[in-house]
């Protein structure tokens, strides 16, 4: 079944078609989400939310855009919303710990914030540094870089997802790589 047939089947109430849709795209959406969030639990939550929204709004989906473009766009939006929410929470938590309201809660939050399989491995410190470098990129650079790097999405489709020109996407990814390189190479240790 191609995407158009899948959507038609879902609109006709075919539950198996919806499972096929999930199985077809869940890995891709998970990669994009984890590339933006760096937290497996959060990424799974986002993927769940995306498909849930798709289920609710499938009848309003007009096949002007590709299904995958639509799915990626929802995933990026939901992931960015979660990042914003977490940042707000962090500020509140920091403020409350500053005011000595609750110290224990803050430690809990920090640990949960770094729930990630790679963080348990020997790569823990490196992973932390790399994720911090990606997170510090300007939002559009981060989105374009993540879509391309984590799910191999073509520049053309990224331009459709982000509603930008192809040259803008090329420029965003180029700048993202230059910025990451600057952040990740420590010249202090190297005699250049």
């Amino acid at each position: 079944m191609n995407d158009i047939e899948l959507i038609d089947a879902i609109k006709n109430g075919d539950k198996n078609a919806f499972r096929l849709l999930i199985e077809k795209y869940q890995d891709n959406l998970f990669k994009v989400s984890i590339g933006l969030l760096h937290n497996t639990q959060d990424a799974e939550e986002i993927v769940q939310d995306v498909f849930f929204q798709v289920y609710k709004s499938i009848y309003s989906f007009r096949q002007e855009a590709k299904l995958s473009t639509w799915l990626y766009r929802i995933t990026v939006n939901k992931s960015l919303n979660l990042i914003r929410k977490q940042k707000r929470n962090k500020i509140v938590k920091n403020l409350s710990s500053f005011l000595l309201i609750n110290d224990n809660k803050e430690i809990e939050f920090e640990e949960q914030d770094y729930a990630h399989p790679l963080k348990i491995l020997e790569l823990k410190e490196t992973a932390k540094e790399v994720f911090a470098a990606i997170n510090s990129l300007p939002t559009n650079q981060k989105i374009a870089f993540t879509l391309n790097k984590y799910d191999n999405i073509s520049y053309k489709e990224i331009s459709e997802i982000m509603e930008l020109s192809l040259s803008s996407v090329e420029s965003l990814i180029h700048r993202a790589k230059v910025n990451l390189q600057k952040k990740l190479i420590h010249f202090k240790n190297i005699d250049v």
Partner: protein, 144 residues
């Protein structure tokens, strides 16, 4: 190529995005320059984190979990509909009952009215006064 130019292009060298000319000069420089080589290995090592993260896969039960969630929501909304529909149905039944009550009441009244008139006509036949008159005449007749 100097070290600055080399370290600026390392990420594109790793991603194989250089043209042949650039690629050759990079390779030449990296062969000879140990500090750029260290930087190259450092960057390779760090970027490999991205590859490892990219290879992660979601929980195998994710699809089932999503489908369950949807099922639950539609069940809940069904229940909610029921919760709205049940009282609405009861009110409807109540209205029907009341209406039937009125109808039955009204039709009973018309029957009752008919009965009253028939009773009145019967009464005309069995008029006690007239009956009494007859009796009286009979009695008077007998007495005479």
């Amino acid at each position: 190529m100097n070290c600055k130019e080399c370290t600026e292009k390392l990420v594109f060298y790793i991603d194989k995005e250089l043209n042949n000319n650039e690629l050759n000069t990079m390779q030449e420089h990296l062969k000879l320059c140990s500090s750029c080589n260290i930087a190259y290995k450092q960057l390779c090592n760090k970027l490999s984190v991205i590859d490892k993260e990219r290879d992660l896969i979601p929980n195998p039960y994710l699809a089932t979990r999503i489908l369950n969630r949807i099922e639950n929501i539609s069940y809940k909304s069904n229940r909610q509909q029921q919760r709205i529909l049940q009282p609405a149905f009861l009110i409807f039944i109540l209205i029907i009952a009341l209406f039937t009550g009125f109808l039955v009441g009204n039709s009973y009244q018309t029957i009752a009215n008919d009965n009253n008139s028939s009773v009145q006509t019967d009464d005309l036949f069995f008029n006690e006064l007239k009956q009494e008159n007859i009796e009286l005449t009979l009695l008077t007749y007998e007495n005479e």
